[in-house]
Protein backbone atom coordinates (compact mmCIF):
# COMPACT_ATOMS: atom_id res chain seq x y z
CA UNK A 1 0.00 0.00 0.00
CA UNK A 2 1.25 3.41 -0.96
CA UNK A 3 0.36 6.72 0.66
CA UNK A 4 -0.92 9.63 -1.42
CA UNK A 5 2.41 11.39 -0.90
CA UNK A 6 4.33 8.38 -2.17
CA UNK A 7 2.10 8.12 -5.24
CA UNK A 8 2.49 11.84 -5.88
CA UNK A 9 6.23 11.54 -5.69
CA UNK A 10 6.21 8.47 -7.95
CA UNK A 11 4.06 10.03 -10.66
CA UNK A 12 5.87 13.37 -10.50
CA UNK A 13 9.19 11.77 -11.27
CA UNK A 14 7.60 9.72 -14.07
CA UNK A 15 6.09 12.84 -15.62
CA UNK A 16 9.45 14.60 -15.29
CA UNK A 17 11.05 11.73 -17.20
CA UNK A 18 8.48 12.14 -19.95
CA UNK A 19 9.15 15.87 -20.10
CA UNK A 20 12.87 15.20 -20.55
CA UNK A 21 12.06 12.73 -23.32
CA UNK A 22 9.70 15.19 -25.01
CA UNK A 23 12.42 17.84 -25.06
CA UNK A 24 14.57 15.52 -27.17
CA UNK A 25 11.91 14.87 -29.83
CA UNK A 26 11.47 16.48 -33.25
CA UNK A 27 9.85 18.66 -34.42
CA UNK A 28 10.86 20.77 -31.44
CA UNK A 29 8.03 23.27 -31.96
CA UNK A 30 5.53 20.45 -31.49
CA UNK A 31 6.99 18.52 -28.54
CA UNK A 32 8.70 21.21 -26.47
CA UNK A 33 5.39 23.04 -25.82
CA UNK A 34 3.90 19.69 -24.76
CA UNK A 35 6.69 19.32 -22.22
CA UNK A 36 6.19 22.91 -21.10
CA UNK A 37 2.44 22.36 -20.63
CA UNK A 38 3.13 19.23 -18.56
CA UNK A 39 5.75 21.01 -16.47
CA UNK A 40 3.15 23.52 -15.26
CA UNK A 41 1.05 20.79 -13.62
CA UNK A 42 0.52 20.97 -9.88
CA UNK A 43 -0.05 18.08 -7.54
CA UNK A 44 -0.84 15.50 -10.26
CA UNK A 45 -4.19 14.81 -8.64
CA UNK A 46 -5.74 12.81 -11.48
CA UNK A 47 -2.85 10.42 -12.15
CA UNK A 48 -2.59 9.87 -8.39
CA UNK A 49 -6.25 8.84 -8.48
CA UNK A 50 -5.47 6.27 -11.20
CA UNK A 51 -2.62 4.82 -9.14
CA UNK A 52 -4.58 4.92 -5.90
CA UNK A 53 -7.58 3.09 -7.34
CA UNK A 54 -5.27 0.48 -8.87
CA UNK A 55 -3.51 0.14 -5.54
CA UNK A 56 -6.81 -0.78 -3.85
CA UNK A 57 -6.54 -4.10 -5.68
CA UNK A 58 -2.90 -4.53 -6.63
CA UNK A 59 0.45 -3.40 -5.24
CA UNK A 60 2.34 -3.30 -8.56
CA UNK A 61 1.33 0.29 -9.24
CA UNK A 62 4.20 0.72 -11.72
CA UNK A 63 2.11 -1.29 -14.20
CA UNK A 64 -0.57 1.39 -14.42
CA UNK A 65 1.78 4.35 -14.78
CA UNK A 66 1.23 4.74 -18.56
CA UNK A 67 -2.53 5.08 -17.96
CA UNK A 68 -1.89 7.62 -15.19
CA UNK A 69 0.33 9.64 -17.53
CA UNK A 70 -2.35 9.40 -20.24
CA UNK A 71 -4.86 11.07 -17.92
CA UNK A 72 -2.38 13.78 -16.89
CA UNK A 73 -1.48 14.51 -20.53
CA UNK A 74 -5.15 14.74 -21.45
CA UNK A 75 -5.92 17.02 -18.48
CA UNK A 76 -3.08 19.36 -19.39
CA UNK A 77 -4.23 19.33 -23.01
CA UNK A 78 -7.64 20.62 -21.91
CA UNK A 79 -5.99 23.36 -19.83
CA UNK A 80 -3.81 24.34 -22.79
CA UNK A 81 -6.73 24.73 -25.22
CA UNK A 82 -9.02 26.21 -22.53
CA UNK A 83 -6.44 28.92 -21.75
CA UNK A 84 -6.39 29.83 -25.41
CA UNK A 85 -10.19 29.89 -25.63
CA UNK A 86 -10.45 31.95 -22.42
CA UNK A 87 -7.52 34.18 -23.43
CA UNK A 88 -6.00 33.37 -20.04
CA UNK A 89 -2.41 34.60 -20.33
CA UNK A 90 -1.12 33.07 -17.10
CA UNK A 91 -1.40 29.67 -15.46
CA UNK A 92 0.21 29.00 -12.07
CA UNK A 93 2.47 32.04 -12.37
CA UNK A 94 3.77 30.97 -15.79
CA UNK A 95 2.81 32.17 -19.25
CA UNK A 96 0.16 29.92 -20.75
CA UNK A 97 1.30 27.99 -23.82
CA UNK A 98 -0.33 30.22 -26.46
CA UNK A 99 1.37 33.26 -24.88
CA UNK A 100 4.80 31.67 -24.44
CA UNK A 101 4.78 30.28 -27.98
CA UNK A 102 1.94 31.32 -30.29
CA UNK A 103 -1.63 30.37 -31.10
CA UNK A 104 -0.81 27.97 -33.93
CA UNK A 105 1.70 26.11 -31.79
CA UNK A 106 -0.86 25.99 -28.97
CA UNK A 107 -3.53 24.51 -31.24
CA UNK A 108 -1.26 21.88 -32.75
CA UNK A 109 0.66 20.85 -29.63
CA UNK A 110 -2.70 20.51 -27.87
CA UNK A 111 -3.93 18.30 -30.71
CA UNK A 112 -0.79 16.22 -30.35
CA UNK A 113 -1.31 15.87 -26.58
CA UNK A 114 -4.82 14.58 -27.06
CA UNK A 115 -3.50 11.89 -29.41
CA UNK A 116 -0.48 11.17 -27.20
CA UNK A 117 -2.81 10.45 -24.29
CA UNK A 118 -4.17 7.50 -26.29
CA UNK A 119 -0.64 6.40 -27.15
CA UNK A 120 0.29 6.27 -23.46
CA UNK A 121 -2.86 4.32 -22.77
CA UNK A 122 -1.94 1.87 -25.54
CA UNK A 123 1.32 1.25 -23.68
CA UNK A 124 -0.54 0.14 -20.58
CA UNK A 125 -0.49 -3.63 -20.50
CA UNK A 126 -3.86 -4.89 -19.23
CA UNK A 127 -6.39 -7.44 -20.33
CA UNK A 128 -8.92 -4.63 -19.92
CA UNK A 129 -7.13 -2.37 -22.39
CA UNK A 130 -10.05 -1.87 -24.77
CA UNK A 131 -12.40 -1.03 -21.87
CA UNK A 132 -9.84 1.45 -20.57
CA UNK A 133 -9.52 3.14 -23.95
CA UNK A 134 -13.31 3.22 -24.29
CA UNK A 135 -13.71 4.78 -20.83
CA UNK A 136 -11.03 7.32 -21.61
CA UNK A 137 -12.46 8.26 -24.98
CA UNK A 138 -16.03 8.62 -23.75
CA UNK A 139 -14.82 10.68 -20.79
CA UNK A 140 -12.70 12.90 -23.01
CA UNK A 141 -15.66 13.69 -25.24
CA UNK A 142 -17.77 14.53 -22.18
CA UNK A 143 -15.10 16.98 -21.04
CA UNK A 144 -15.39 18.72 -24.43
CA UNK A 145 -19.17 18.85 -24.00
CA UNK A 146 -18.71 20.40 -20.55
CA UNK A 147 -16.36 23.04 -21.91
CA UNK A 148 -18.85 23.92 -24.67
CA UNK A 149 -21.73 24.24 -22.17
CA UNK A 150 -19.50 26.47 -20.03
CA UNK A 151 -18.84 28.73 -23.04
CA UNK A 152 -22.52 28.67 -24.02
CA UNK A 153 -23.49 29.81 -20.52
CA UNK A 154 -21.39 32.98 -20.87
CA UNK A 155 -24.00 34.51 -23.17
CA UNK A 156 -27.06 33.08 -21.42
CA UNK A 157 -28.96 34.59 -18.45
CA UNK A 158 -31.42 31.71 -18.01
CA UNK A 159 -29.07 28.90 -16.95
CA UNK A 160 -30.76 26.64 -14.41
CA UNK A 161 -29.01 25.08 -11.41
CA UNK A 162 -29.68 21.70 -12.98
CA UNK A 163 -27.95 22.73 -16.21
CA UNK A 164 -25.06 24.12 -14.20
CA UNK A 165 -24.59 20.91 -12.22
CA UNK A 166 -24.65 18.95 -15.47
CA UNK A 167 -22.00 21.26 -16.92
CA UNK A 168 -19.59 20.84 -13.99
CA UNK A 169 -20.27 17.11 -13.98
CA UNK A 170 -19.03 17.00 -17.58
CA UNK A 171 -16.29 19.59 -17.43
CA UNK A 172 -14.72 18.58 -14.12
CA UNK A 173 -16.22 15.56 -12.37
CA UNK A 174 -16.16 12.87 -15.07
CA UNK A 175 -12.37 13.07 -15.39
CA UNK A 176 -11.90 12.54 -11.63
CA UNK A 177 -14.45 9.71 -11.75
CA UNK A 178 -12.84 8.27 -14.88
CA UNK A 179 -9.37 8.40 -13.29
CA UNK A 180 -10.49 6.21 -10.40
CA UNK A 181 -12.38 3.84 -12.68
CA UNK A 182 -9.36 3.65 -14.99
CA UNK A 183 -7.14 2.41 -12.17
CA UNK A 184 -9.76 -0.10 -11.07
CA UNK A 185 -10.22 -1.39 -14.64
CA UNK A 186 -6.47 -1.79 -15.08
CA UNK A 187 -6.42 -3.89 -11.90
CA UNK A 188 -9.29 -6.04 -13.18
CA UNK A 189 -11.49 -5.00 -10.28
CA UNK A 190 -15.06 -6.36 -10.21
CA UNK A 191 -17.52 -4.31 -12.25
CA UNK A 192 -19.52 -3.32 -9.18
CA UNK A 193 -16.48 -1.70 -7.60
CA UNK A 194 -15.33 0.08 -10.75
CA UNK A 195 -18.83 1.59 -10.89
CA UNK A 196 -18.71 2.56 -7.21
CA UNK A 197 -15.33 4.22 -7.62
CA UNK A 198 -16.68 6.13 -10.61
CA UNK A 199 -19.68 7.38 -8.65
CA UNK A 200 -17.50 8.25 -5.67
CA UNK A 201 -15.28 10.33 -7.97
CA UNK A 202 -18.26 11.93 -9.67
CA UNK A 203 -19.81 13.19 -6.44
CA UNK A 204 -16.43 14.26 -5.12
CA UNK A 205 -15.73 16.10 -8.36
CA UNK A 206 -18.99 18.04 -8.22
CA UNK A 207 -18.36 18.95 -4.55
CA UNK A 208 -14.84 20.02 -5.53
CA UNK A 209 -16.04 22.35 -8.31
CA UNK A 210 -18.80 23.85 -6.14
CA UNK A 211 -16.19 24.56 -3.48
CA UNK A 212 -14.05 26.21 -6.15
CA UNK A 213 -17.00 28.51 -6.90
CA UNK A 214 -17.45 29.23 -3.19
CA UNK A 215 -13.78 29.95 -2.48
CA UNK A 216 -13.61 32.35 -5.42
CA UNK A 217 -15.88 34.63 -3.38
CA UNK A 218 -15.45 33.63 0.27
CA UNK A 219 -11.86 32.41 0.61
CA UNK A 220 -9.34 34.17 2.83
CA UNK A 221 -7.24 36.06 0.29
CA UNK A 222 -3.89 34.99 1.82
CA UNK A 223 -4.67 31.30 1.45
CA UNK A 224 -6.22 31.61 -2.03
CA UNK A 225 -4.03 31.36 -5.12
CA UNK A 226 -6.13 33.62 -7.32
CA UNK A 227 -7.69 37.05 -6.80
CA UNK A 228 -10.91 36.87 -4.78
CA UNK A 229 -13.99 37.74 -6.80
CA UNK A 230 -12.59 36.87 -10.21
CA UNK A 231 -15.74 34.97 -11.13
CA UNK A 232 -17.93 37.92 -10.08
CA UNK A 233 -15.82 40.38 -12.07
CA UNK A 234 -16.07 38.23 -15.22
CA UNK A 235 -19.79 37.42 -14.81
CA UNK A 236 -19.09 33.70 -14.62
CA UNK A 237 -22.32 31.74 -14.22
CA UNK A 238 -21.32 30.00 -11.01
CA UNK A 239 -23.56 28.08 -8.64
CA UNK A 240 -23.55 31.15 -6.37
CA UNK A 241 -24.70 33.56 -9.06
CA UNK A 242 -27.34 31.21 -10.45
CA UNK A 243 -28.68 30.49 -6.97
CA UNK A 244 -28.79 34.22 -6.21
CA UNK A 245 -30.70 34.88 -9.45
CA UNK A 246 -33.09 32.08 -8.48
CA UNK A 247 -33.74 33.39 -4.97
CA UNK A 248 -33.62 37.14 -5.52
CA UNK A 249 -36.77 39.28 -5.63
CA UNK A 250 -37.38 41.28 -8.79
CA UNK A 251 -35.54 44.36 -7.51
CA UNK A 252 -32.42 42.48 -6.38
CA UNK A 253 -32.44 40.46 -9.58
CA UNK A 254 -32.41 43.64 -11.63
CA UNK A 255 -29.48 44.98 -9.55
CA UNK A 256 -27.53 41.80 -10.33
CA UNK A 257 -28.42 42.05 -14.01
CA UNK A 258 -27.34 45.68 -14.12
CA UNK A 259 -23.92 44.72 -12.74
CA UNK A 260 -23.63 41.95 -15.31
CA UNK A 261 -24.40 44.32 -18.16
CA UNK A 262 -22.15 47.16 -16.93
CA UNK A 263 -19.18 47.58 -19.24
CA UNK A 264 -17.18 49.94 -17.01
CA UNK A 265 -16.87 49.44 -13.29
CA UNK A 266 -14.39 49.30 -10.44
CA UNK A 267 -13.85 45.62 -9.78
CA UNK A 268 -13.77 45.97 -5.97
CA UNK A 269 -17.09 47.80 -5.96
CA UNK A 270 -18.76 45.23 -8.21
CA UNK A 271 -17.36 42.34 -6.17
CA UNK A 272 -18.55 43.97 -2.94
CA UNK A 273 -22.01 44.72 -4.32
CA UNK A 274 -22.59 41.16 -5.54
CA UNK A 275 -21.04 39.66 -2.38
CA UNK A 276 -23.43 41.80 -0.29
CA UNK A 277 -26.35 40.36 -2.24
CA UNK A 278 -24.97 36.83 -1.72
CA UNK A 279 -24.83 37.57 2.03
CA UNK A 280 -28.40 38.90 2.08
CA UNK A 281 -29.62 35.76 0.30
CA UNK A 282 -27.60 33.40 2.50
CA UNK A 283 -25.81 32.04 -0.59
CA UNK A 284 -22.72 30.95 1.34
CA UNK A 285 -24.67 28.62 3.60
CA UNK A 286 -26.81 27.29 0.74
CA UNK A 287 -23.71 26.50 -1.30
CA UNK A 288 -22.01 24.86 1.68
CA UNK A 289 -25.06 22.66 2.16
CA UNK A 290 -25.02 21.65 -1.48
CA UNK A 291 -21.29 20.83 -1.30
CA UNK A 292 -21.93 18.81 1.86
CA UNK A 293 -24.67 16.84 0.11
CA UNK A 294 -22.38 15.79 -2.74
CA UNK A 295 -19.46 15.14 -0.40
CA UNK A 296 -21.68 13.02 1.85
CA UNK A 297 -22.89 11.05 -1.18
CA UNK A 298 -19.25 10.32 -1.99
CA UNK A 299 -18.60 9.16 1.57
CA UNK A 300 -21.69 6.94 1.55
CA UNK A 301 -20.38 5.23 -1.57
CA UNK A 302 -16.92 4.92 0.01
CA UNK A 303 -18.48 3.08 2.98
CA UNK A 304 -20.03 0.53 0.63
CA UNK A 305 -16.90 -0.26 -1.38
CA UNK A 306 -16.09 -3.83 -0.44
CA UNK A 307 -12.37 -3.40 0.22
CA UNK A 308 -10.89 -3.73 3.74
CA UNK A 309 -11.04 -0.40 5.60
CA UNK A 310 -7.30 -0.15 6.00
CA UNK A 311 -6.76 -0.50 2.25
CA UNK A 312 -9.36 2.05 1.30
CA UNK A 313 -8.36 4.56 3.99
CA UNK A 314 -6.10 6.38 1.53
CA UNK A 315 -9.08 7.00 -0.74
CA UNK A 316 -10.79 8.81 2.11
CA UNK A 317 -7.62 10.81 2.71
CA UNK A 318 -7.71 11.81 -0.94
CA UNK A 319 -11.30 13.02 -0.62
CA UNK A 320 -10.37 15.07 2.46
CA UNK A 321 -7.33 16.48 0.72
CA UNK A 322 -9.38 17.52 -2.30
CA UNK A 323 -11.97 19.23 -0.15
CA UNK A 324 -9.38 20.94 2.07
CA UNK A 325 -7.86 22.37 -1.12
CA UNK A 326 -4.44 21.19 -0.05
CA UNK A 327 -3.51 20.51 -3.67
Amino acid sequence: MYSIKELQSLISSEVDNEIRLLNSLEPKNLYEPVGYALSMGGKRLRPVMVLLAYNLFNDSVEKVIPAAIAIEVFHNFTLLHDDMMDQAEMRRNSLSVYKKYNENIAILSGDAMSIMAYNYLLNCDSSNQVSMIRLFSETALEVCEGQQYDMDFESRMDVSIQEYLNMIRLKTAVLLAGSLKMGALAANAPEKMTAQLYDFGLNLGIAFQLQDDLLDVFAVQEKFGKKIGGDIASNKKTFLLLKALELADLQTKSIIQDWIQKKEFKTEIKVKAITDIYNELNIKKITENCIEDFYQSALDIWEKIDVEKERKAELLELAKMIMSRDH
Copy 2:
Protein backbone atom coordinates in the same frame (compact mmCIF):
# COMPACT_ATOMS: atom_id res chain seq x y z
CA MET B 1 -16.23 -7.11 -54.94
CA TYR B 2 -17.27 -3.51 -54.98
CA SER B 3 -16.17 -0.82 -57.41
CA ILE B 4 -14.68 2.45 -56.18
CA LYS B 5 -17.89 4.20 -57.22
CA GLU B 6 -20.00 1.79 -55.18
CA LEU B 7 -17.76 2.24 -52.15
CA GLN B 8 -17.89 6.02 -52.53
CA SER B 9 -21.63 5.92 -52.68
CA LEU B 10 -21.81 3.59 -49.66
CA ILE B 11 -19.54 5.69 -47.45
CA SER B 12 -21.12 8.97 -48.55
CA SER B 13 -24.52 7.86 -47.40
CA GLU B 14 -23.06 6.54 -44.13
CA VAL B 15 -21.32 9.87 -43.48
CA ASP B 16 -24.56 11.69 -44.32
CA ASN B 17 -26.33 9.56 -41.70
CA GLU B 18 -23.72 10.54 -39.14
CA ILE B 19 -24.13 14.22 -40.02
CA ARG B 20 -27.89 13.93 -39.44
CA LEU B 21 -27.23 12.25 -36.10
CA LEU B 22 -24.69 14.92 -35.13
CA ASN B 23 -27.21 17.65 -35.83
CA SER B 24 -29.50 16.14 -33.20
CA LEU B 25 -26.87 16.08 -30.42
CA GLU B 26 -26.31 18.55 -27.56
CA PRO B 27 -24.51 20.84 -27.02
CA LYS B 28 -25.42 22.14 -30.48
CA ASN B 29 -22.42 24.47 -30.65
CA LEU B 30 -20.13 21.48 -30.30
CA TYR B 31 -21.73 18.94 -32.61
CA GLU B 32 -23.28 21.05 -35.35
CA PRO B 33 -19.86 22.40 -36.45
CA VAL B 34 -18.60 18.81 -36.54
CA GLY B 35 -21.43 17.94 -38.92
CA TYR B 36 -20.71 21.05 -40.96
CA ALA B 37 -17.01 20.14 -41.22
CA LEU B 38 -17.93 16.63 -42.37
CA SER B 39 -20.45 17.94 -44.89
CA MET B 40 -17.69 19.85 -46.72
CA GLY B 41 -15.82 16.64 -47.53
CA GLY B 42 -15.28 15.76 -51.17
CA LYS B 43 -14.90 12.30 -52.63
CA ARG B 44 -14.28 10.51 -49.30
CA LEU B 45 -11.00 9.18 -50.65
CA ARG B 46 -9.55 7.94 -47.35
CA PRO B 47 -12.58 6.02 -46.08
CA VAL B 48 -12.93 4.48 -49.55
CA MET B 49 -9.34 3.27 -49.15
CA VAL B 50 -10.27 1.60 -45.84
CA LEU B 51 -13.24 -0.17 -47.47
CA LEU B 52 -11.30 -1.10 -50.58
CA ALA B 53 -8.41 -2.65 -48.65
CA TYR B 54 -10.88 -4.59 -46.50
CA ASN B 55 -12.69 -5.70 -49.63
CA LEU B 56 -9.47 -7.25 -50.97
CA PHE B 57 -9.94 -9.93 -48.31
CA ASN B 58 -13.58 -9.84 -47.29
CA ASP B 59 -16.86 -8.93 -48.99
CA SER B 60 -18.71 -7.80 -45.84
CA VAL B 61 -17.46 -4.24 -46.16
CA GLU B 62 -20.27 -2.95 -43.93
CA LYS B 63 -18.31 -4.33 -40.96
CA VAL B 64 -15.45 -1.89 -41.44
CA ILE B 65 -17.60 1.21 -41.94
CA PRO B 66 -16.98 2.58 -38.41
CA ALA B 67 -13.21 2.50 -39.04
CA ALA B 68 -13.72 4.22 -42.40
CA ILE B 69 -15.77 6.94 -40.72
CA ALA B 70 -13.09 7.29 -38.03
CA ILE B 71 -10.50 8.08 -40.70
CA GLU B 72 -12.80 10.56 -42.44
CA VAL B 73 -13.62 12.32 -39.15
CA PHE B 74 -9.93 12.55 -38.30
CA HIS B 75 -9.04 13.88 -41.76
CA ASN B 76 -11.72 16.56 -41.55
CA PHE B 77 -10.54 17.45 -38.04
CA THR B 78 -7.07 18.16 -39.42
CA LEU B 79 -8.56 20.33 -42.19
CA LEU B 80 -10.64 22.21 -39.61
CA HIS B 81 -7.67 23.07 -37.38
CA ASP B 82 -5.31 23.61 -40.35
CA ASP B 83 -7.71 26.15 -41.85
CA MET B 84 -7.67 28.05 -38.59
CA MET B 85 -3.87 27.92 -38.36
CA ASP B 86 -3.50 29.00 -42.01
CA GLN B 87 -6.28 31.60 -41.68
CA ALA B 88 -7.88 30.00 -44.72
CA GLU B 89 -11.36 31.49 -44.81
CA MET B 90 -12.78 29.23 -47.50
CA ARG B 91 -12.76 25.51 -48.16
CA ARG B 92 -14.43 24.04 -51.25
CA ASN B 93 -16.48 27.19 -51.81
CA SER B 94 -17.83 27.18 -48.24
CA LEU B 95 -16.74 29.20 -45.23
CA SER B 96 -14.23 27.29 -43.15
CA VAL B 97 -15.46 26.34 -39.67
CA TYR B 98 -13.69 29.10 -37.74
CA LYS B 99 -15.19 31.69 -40.12
CA LYS B 100 -18.71 30.26 -40.13
CA TYR B 101 -18.76 29.89 -36.34
CA ASN B 102 -15.84 31.35 -34.38
CA GLU B 103 -12.32 30.41 -33.30
CA ASN B 104 -13.27 28.94 -29.94
CA ILE B 105 -15.92 26.75 -31.51
CA ALA B 106 -13.40 25.69 -34.17
CA ILE B 107 -10.81 24.71 -31.55
CA LEU B 108 -13.25 22.77 -29.41
CA SER B 109 -15.25 21.03 -32.13
CA GLY B 110 -11.94 20.01 -33.70
CA ASP B 111 -10.83 18.58 -30.36
CA ALA B 112 -14.10 16.68 -30.17
CA MET B 113 -13.65 15.29 -33.71
CA SER B 114 -10.22 13.95 -32.86
CA ILE B 115 -11.70 12.10 -29.87
CA MET B 116 -14.79 11.00 -31.84
CA ALA B 117 -12.53 9.37 -34.41
CA TYR B 118 -11.35 6.99 -31.67
CA ASN B 119 -14.94 6.40 -30.57
CA TYR B 120 -15.91 5.34 -34.09
CA LEU B 121 -12.90 3.06 -34.20
CA LEU B 122 -13.94 1.53 -30.87
CA ASN B 123 -17.27 0.66 -32.52
CA CYS B 124 -15.50 -1.39 -35.18
CA ASP B 125 -15.81 -5.03 -34.25
CA SER B 126 -12.55 -6.81 -35.09
CA SER B 127 -10.16 -9.13 -33.29
CA ASN B 128 -7.45 -6.71 -34.44
CA GLN B 129 -9.07 -3.75 -32.70
CA VAL B 130 -6.09 -2.80 -30.53
CA SER B 131 -3.73 -2.93 -33.53
CA MET B 132 -6.15 -0.76 -35.47
CA ILE B 133 -6.31 1.81 -32.68
CA ARG B 134 -2.52 1.74 -32.35
CA LEU B 135 -2.06 2.25 -36.10
CA PHE B 136 -4.56 5.09 -36.07
CA SER B 137 -3.04 6.82 -33.06
CA GLU B 138 0.54 6.59 -34.32
CA THR B 139 -0.56 7.84 -37.74
CA ALA B 140 -2.51 10.72 -36.22
CA LEU B 141 0.53 11.89 -34.26
CA GLU B 142 2.66 11.72 -37.41
CA VAL B 143 0.13 13.94 -39.21
CA CYS B 144 0.58 16.51 -36.42
CA GLU B 145 4.35 16.27 -36.84
CA GLY B 146 3.97 16.84 -40.59
CA GLN B 147 1.81 19.90 -40.02
CA GLN B 148 4.40 21.34 -37.58
CA TYR B 149 7.24 20.78 -40.06
CA ASP B 150 5.15 22.47 -42.74
CA MET B 151 4.66 25.51 -40.47
CA ASP B 152 8.35 25.48 -39.49
CA PHE B 153 9.35 25.54 -43.17
CA GLU B 154 7.49 28.82 -43.70
CA SER B 155 10.22 30.75 -41.90
CA ARG B 156 13.16 28.70 -43.18
CA MET B 157 15.10 29.19 -46.43
CA ASP B 158 17.36 26.15 -46.06
CA VAL B 159 14.82 23.31 -46.31
CA SER B 160 16.33 20.33 -48.12
CA ILE B 161 14.44 18.14 -50.58
CA GLN B 162 14.91 15.26 -48.15
CA GLU B 163 13.29 17.26 -45.34
CA TYR B 164 10.47 18.25 -47.67
CA LEU B 165 9.78 14.66 -48.70
CA ASN B 166 9.74 13.67 -45.04
CA MET B 167 7.26 16.46 -44.30
CA ILE B 168 4.79 15.41 -47.02
CA ARG B 169 5.23 11.78 -46.00
CA LEU B 170 4.03 12.74 -42.51
CA LYS B 171 1.47 15.37 -43.40
CA THR B 172 -0.20 13.60 -46.32
CA ALA B 173 1.08 10.13 -47.15
CA VAL B 174 0.87 8.28 -43.81
CA LEU B 175 -2.89 8.82 -43.62
CA LEU B 176 -3.43 7.31 -47.07
CA ALA B 177 -1.08 4.46 -46.16
CA GLY B 178 -2.75 4.04 -42.78
CA SER B 179 -6.22 3.95 -44.37
CA LEU B 180 -5.27 1.00 -46.54
CA LYS B 181 -3.53 -0.80 -43.69
CA MET B 182 -6.52 -0.14 -41.44
CA GLY B 183 -8.86 -1.95 -43.83
CA ALA B 184 -6.42 -4.83 -44.17
CA LEU B 185 -6.00 -5.13 -40.39
CA ALA B 186 -9.76 -5.15 -39.89
CA ALA B 187 -9.98 -8.03 -42.37
CA ASN B 188 -7.24 -9.93 -40.53
CA ALA B 189 -5.00 -9.89 -43.60
CA PRO B 190 -1.53 -11.45 -43.26
CA GLU B 191 1.08 -9.08 -41.83
CA LYS B 192 3.09 -9.07 -45.05
CA MET B 193 0.14 -7.77 -47.03
CA THR B 194 -0.85 -5.12 -44.50
CA ALA B 195 2.76 -3.85 -44.75
CA GLN B 196 2.65 -3.91 -48.56
CA LEU B 197 -0.60 -2.00 -48.63
CA TYR B 198 0.89 0.56 -46.26
CA ASP B 199 3.96 1.04 -48.48
CA PHE B 200 1.79 1.19 -51.60
CA GLY B 201 -0.25 3.97 -49.97
CA LEU B 202 2.84 5.78 -48.75
CA ASN B 203 4.43 5.99 -52.19
CA LEU B 204 1.13 6.89 -53.78
CA GLY B 205 0.59 9.59 -51.16
CA ILE B 206 3.95 11.20 -51.81
CA ALA B 207 3.35 11.11 -55.58
CA PHE B 208 -0.08 12.63 -54.96
CA GLN B 209 1.30 15.55 -52.92
CA LEU B 210 4.12 16.21 -55.40
CA GLN B 211 1.54 16.33 -58.16
CA ASP B 212 -0.45 18.79 -56.08
CA ASP B 213 2.64 21.01 -55.97
CA LEU B 214 3.10 20.65 -59.72
CA LEU B 215 -0.51 21.39 -60.63
CA ASP B 216 -0.50 24.51 -58.48
CA VAL B 217 1.89 25.99 -61.06
CA PHE B 218 1.36 24.06 -64.28
CA ALA B 219 -2.30 23.04 -64.31
CA VAL B 220 -4.72 24.26 -66.94
CA GLN B 221 -6.68 26.93 -65.07
CA GLU B 222 -10.09 25.71 -66.28
CA LYS B 223 -9.55 22.24 -64.89
CA PHE B 224 -7.96 23.37 -61.62
CA GLY B 225 -10.11 24.12 -58.59
CA LYS B 226 -7.85 26.78 -57.09
CA LYS B 227 -6.07 29.79 -58.53
CA ILE B 228 -2.89 28.85 -60.39
CA GLY B 229 0.28 30.03 -58.64
CA GLY B 230 -1.17 30.23 -55.13
CA ASP B 231 1.88 28.45 -53.70
CA ILE B 232 4.25 30.83 -55.50
CA ALA B 233 2.35 33.89 -54.28
CA SER B 234 2.46 32.68 -50.67
CA ASN B 235 6.12 31.54 -50.80
CA LYS B 236 5.16 27.98 -49.96
CA LYS B 237 8.25 25.77 -49.79
CA THR B 238 7.11 23.27 -52.40
CA PHE B 239 9.18 20.63 -54.13
CA LEU B 240 9.35 22.95 -57.15
CA LEU B 241 10.69 25.93 -55.23
CA LEU B 242 13.19 23.87 -53.23
CA LYS B 243 14.42 22.13 -56.37
CA ALA B 244 14.79 25.49 -58.12
CA LEU B 245 16.77 26.88 -55.18
CA GLU B 246 18.96 23.77 -55.30
CA LEU B 247 19.66 24.02 -59.03
CA ALA B 248 19.80 27.78 -59.54
CA ASP B 249 23.06 29.63 -60.00
CA LEU B 250 23.83 32.39 -57.51
CA GLN B 251 22.22 35.11 -59.60
CA THR B 252 18.97 33.21 -60.19
CA LYS B 253 18.87 32.15 -56.56
CA SER B 254 19.07 35.75 -55.46
CA ILE B 255 16.22 36.67 -57.86
CA ILE B 256 14.07 33.97 -56.26
CA GLN B 257 15.02 35.16 -52.77
CA ASP B 258 14.18 38.75 -53.69
CA TRP B 259 10.71 37.68 -54.79
CA ILE B 260 10.25 35.75 -51.55
CA GLN B 261 11.21 38.75 -49.44
CA LYS B 262 9.16 41.29 -51.41
CA LYS B 263 6.21 42.54 -49.34
CA GLU B 264 4.36 44.31 -52.15
CA PHE B 265 3.98 42.85 -55.59
CA LYS B 266 1.50 42.08 -58.34
CA THR B 267 0.68 38.41 -57.94
CA GLU B 268 0.58 37.70 -61.69
CA ILE B 269 4.02 39.24 -62.18
CA LYS B 270 5.55 37.27 -59.31
CA VAL B 271 3.92 34.05 -60.49
CA LYS B 272 5.18 34.62 -64.02
CA ALA B 273 8.72 35.50 -62.88
CA ILE B 274 9.06 32.39 -60.74
CA THR B 275 7.39 30.19 -63.37
CA ASP B 276 9.88 31.50 -65.95
CA ILE B 277 12.72 30.44 -63.63
CA TYR B 278 11.10 27.02 -63.19
CA ASN B 279 10.98 26.71 -66.99
CA GLU B 280 14.62 27.72 -67.37
CA LEU B 281 15.64 25.14 -64.78
CA ASN B 282 13.45 22.39 -66.27
CA ILE B 283 11.62 22.05 -62.94
CA LYS B 284 8.42 20.70 -64.51
CA LYS B 285 10.17 17.70 -66.03
CA ILE B 286 12.26 17.08 -62.91
CA THR B 287 9.13 17.09 -60.74
CA GLU B 288 7.30 14.81 -63.18
CA ASN B 289 10.20 12.37 -63.01
CA CYS B 290 10.13 12.40 -59.23
CA ILE B 291 6.37 11.82 -59.23
CA GLU B 292 6.81 8.99 -61.70
CA ASP B 293 9.45 7.37 -59.45
CA PHE B 294 7.13 7.30 -56.44
CA TYR B 295 4.15 6.23 -58.55
CA GLN B 296 6.19 3.44 -60.10
CA SER B 297 7.31 2.29 -56.64
CA ALA B 298 3.64 2.06 -55.68
CA LEU B 299 2.88 0.01 -58.81
CA ASP B 300 5.82 -2.32 -58.16
CA ILE B 301 4.43 -3.02 -54.70
CA TRP B 302 0.96 -3.52 -56.17
CA GLU B 303 2.35 -6.20 -58.50
CA LYS B 304 3.75 -8.10 -55.52
CA ILE B 305 0.60 -8.10 -53.41
CA ASP B 306 -0.44 -11.74 -53.34
CA VAL B 307 -4.14 -11.26 -54.12
CA GLU B 308 -5.66 -12.42 -57.40
CA LYS B 309 -5.32 -9.76 -60.11
CA GLU B 310 -9.04 -9.39 -60.59
CA ARG B 311 -9.57 -8.67 -56.91
CA LYS B 312 -6.79 -6.12 -56.66
CA ALA B 313 -7.64 -4.37 -59.96
CA GLU B 314 -9.75 -1.80 -58.12
CA LEU B 315 -6.72 -0.78 -56.05
CA LEU B 316 -4.92 0.05 -59.28
CA GLU B 317 -7.96 2.02 -60.44
CA LEU B 318 -7.78 3.98 -57.19
CA ALA B 319 -4.11 4.82 -57.80
CA LYS B 320 -4.94 5.99 -61.33
CA MET B 321 -7.87 8.02 -60.07
CA ILE B 322 -5.73 9.71 -57.44
CA MET B 323 -3.04 10.61 -59.96
CA SER B 324 -5.54 11.79 -62.57
CA ARG B 325 -6.91 14.13 -59.91
CA ASP B 326 -10.41 12.95 -60.61
CA HIS B 327 -11.33 13.40 -56.95
